[in-house]
């Protein structure tokens, strides 16, 4: 066995897969290269909550054997990371919460089962905001993850560990979950690609539920082609998730080279309103000009109710969370408070000791919004606003093939900068939340750097039109020619 080349961990899935097919590298060598990279940079980045080196080596050896026996596939032998709110049988699933310390998943999520079946090497579990509630991964009860581009800054959240791991070469790609931007916002902050599929395209079975009508699993990758490759494996109907959609899914890699010539792209004015930094506006404007030069027709469009999306989201998501998190009661799994005299006291103390401040805040907010006397004014009204947002998007997609916007109002902020103000923190999701409320597919693609920090462009399309999202995303990627990696050494 030769020593792995120093750059093997920087390969895309496609590049690595081609090398594996040509016999230039083995899955074991590739996995060793990534494990070495993890050992080298993890003390600075802290992207992972759990790395299982022995299991990764076994999976890699099995992938090599499968390939020798004639096995093929774009993920065979590819080392990947999984957000720690998605179950892998036999591994911890802490959701970065003390209440799940010691929990070992008794089963595979449907997505991790699919990855295993395709021969991927699952390296371990990545850090997140506790129960995916947050925008900086600082709400993890375990550790603070750093942005590989600037270690004093946050990686975004809640899939901050997955985004940082991919950016730092600690996995070729990773899975995240996105409830209000938790894949796209950290992808933008860390200079990688993040895709949230249409609600229902990917099974949520084995994803610890936060807000069930908004949650969706998706890939964080080094380029758009890899996102399409992973989506091919992730998409599909699942009898274990009654909201997963039973339909035929295309080969998502087929339209990547389609370009934007003749495509109509809308630019929602509500998503470049107050709060979006001038630097980000300038980078996005530059990208739009390049897309126009490629034949895209870009026009401003107004979706007035988007100005209320964040407000509606911070009623709906906590309401659903307060219901979903009722299951953490110290009875069936996780930790239990000691010495309670009766069941009710055990519940209250278990939850008080096990949940962190942001999770408590959202449970309280959601319980309030659902309680007698406030239900109609908050939850009922928010659901109606959601209808208006869905309808405005539908009208926009009558006219446009896709909508584009910045992914985030600012680049990655300093660790600690927004922890004192929940509302300030919530505002960093203001551009990504509308796609969750409307269930739309959306991608963030890196398009440039501002003062050394990545900027993401978001592309949204109508339900089940991942093909257009990926096609426009790939065109954006070619125009931006980003291709940069953070310097960590």
């Amino acid at each position: 066995m030769t020593a792995p080349r120093a750059v093997d961990y920087d390969l895309t899935i496609k590049e690595a897969s081609d090398r594996l097919d040509r016999g230039e590298i083995s899955a074991v060598e590739l996995t060793e290269a990534v494990l070495s990279r993890i050992n080298a940079v993890e003390p600075q980045v802290k992207a992972y909550l759990h790395v299982d080196e022995d299991s990764a080596r076994e999976q890699a050896a099995a992938a090599d054997k499968s390939r020798r026996d004639g096995g093929v596939g774009p993920l065979l032998g590819i080392p990947l990371a999984v957000k720690d709110n998605i179950c892998i049988q036999g591994m911890p699933a802490t959701c970065a919460s003390k209440i799940l310390s010691g929990f070992v998943s008794p089963y595979d999520a449907t997505v991790t089962g699919a990855l295993k079946k395709s021969g991927a090497v699952l390296l371990g579990k990545t850090n997140l905001d506790e129960f995916a509630m947050g925008s900086s991964t600082e709400n993890s009860a375990m550790q603070v993850t750093s942005n590989p581009w600037d270690l004093s800054r946050v990686p975004g959240g809640s899939s901050g560990g997955s985004a940082a791991a991919v950016a730092a070469g600690q996995a070729l790609a990773a899975l995240g979950s996105d409830t209000g931007g938790s894949i796209r916002q950290p992808a933008a902050f860390c200079g990688v690609v993040g895709l949230k599929p249409t609600y229902g395209v990917v099974s949520r079975y084995g994803l610890v539920a936060f807000a069930s009508s908004l949650d969706q699993i998706g890939p964080l990758t080094k380029d758009v082609a890899d996102a399409a490759l992973l989506l091919n494996v992730l998409a599909g109907h699942d009898r274990h998730d009654s909201t997963s959609i039973d339909r035929e899914y295309p080969d998502f890699t087929a339209a990547l080279d389609g370009g934007v010539d003749g495509l109509r792209l809308g630019f929602p004015q509500e998503l470049v309103a107050e709060g979006v930094s001038d630097d980000i506006k300038a980078v996005v404007d530059g990208t739009i000009k390049k897309l126009e030069a490629q034949g895209a027709i870009v026009e401003p469009v107004s979706l007035p109710t988007l100005a209320y999306a964040l407000s509606a989201y911070y009623i709906i998501a906590p309401a659903e969370a307060s219901s979903n998190l009722a299951r953490f009661d110290g009875v069936r799994y996780g930790r239990r408070a000691e010495g309670a005299k009766d069941l009710l006291e055990m519940y209250k103390r278990t939850r008080a000791e096990g949940f962190g401040p942001e999770v408590k805040r959202r449970i309280m907010l959601g319980t309030y919004a659902l309680s007698a006397g406030y239900y109609d004014a908050y939850y009922g009204q928010a659901q109606k606003v959601r209808t208006l947002i869905i309808d405005e998007f539908k009208q926009a997609f009558d006219k446009f093939d896709a909508l584009i916007s910045p992914t985030t109002p600012t680049t990655a902020f300093e660790i600690g900068a927004k922890t004192a103000s929940p509302v300030e923190m919530y505002l960093s999701d203001v551009l990504t939340i509308p796609a969750n409320l409307a269930g739309l597919p959306a991608i963030s693609v890196p398009v440039g750097l501002v003062e050394g920090l990545p900027v993401g462009l978001q592309v949204m399309a109508k339900h089940f039109d991942e093909t257009t999202v990926l096609r426009v995303g790939a065109a954006v990627e070619r125009q931006a020619a980003f291709g940069e990696r953070p310097l960590l050494d």
């Binding site: 008794p106 089963y107 249409t198 609600y199 229902g200 009508s213 009898r239 009654s242 909201t243 959609i245 109710t305 209320y308 964040l310 407000s311 509606a312 911070y314 009623i315 307060s322 009722a326 069936r332 799994y333 996780g334 930790r335 239990r336 309670a340 005299k341 009766d342 069941l343 006291e345 055990m346 519940y347 209250k348 103390r349 939850r351 008080a352 949940f355 408590k360 805040r361 449970i363 309280m364 907010l365 319980t367 309030y368 309680s371 004014a377 908050y378 009204q381 928010a382 659901q383 109606k384 606003v385 959601r386 209808t387 208006l388 869905i390 509302v423 919530y426 409307a438 269930g439 339900h463």
Partner: protein
Amino acid sequence: MLISREDVEHVAALARLALTDEETDKLTVELGQILEHAGKISEIDTAGVEPSAHAIKVTNVLRADKVGDELSQEEALANAPDREDDAFGVPKIV
């Protein structure tokens, strides 16, 4: 003041959360700030608008009532903080 300290105590009891006095004070302020922002949705006229619980309309999904390849009792109990024989153990209820 959108939410009082008494409201916070009431909601904490509903949510089965034992909050400290400091947490209750802090949440009274923070929930007030968040509700002030979220309350902007009341500005929108939603007369005649149907509420949406989901973005994608799905109808009830039915299946045959057949036992599949699911967790065994031992697997289901493996993560329990306390068990008694083949059941989850809990403190005294009555």
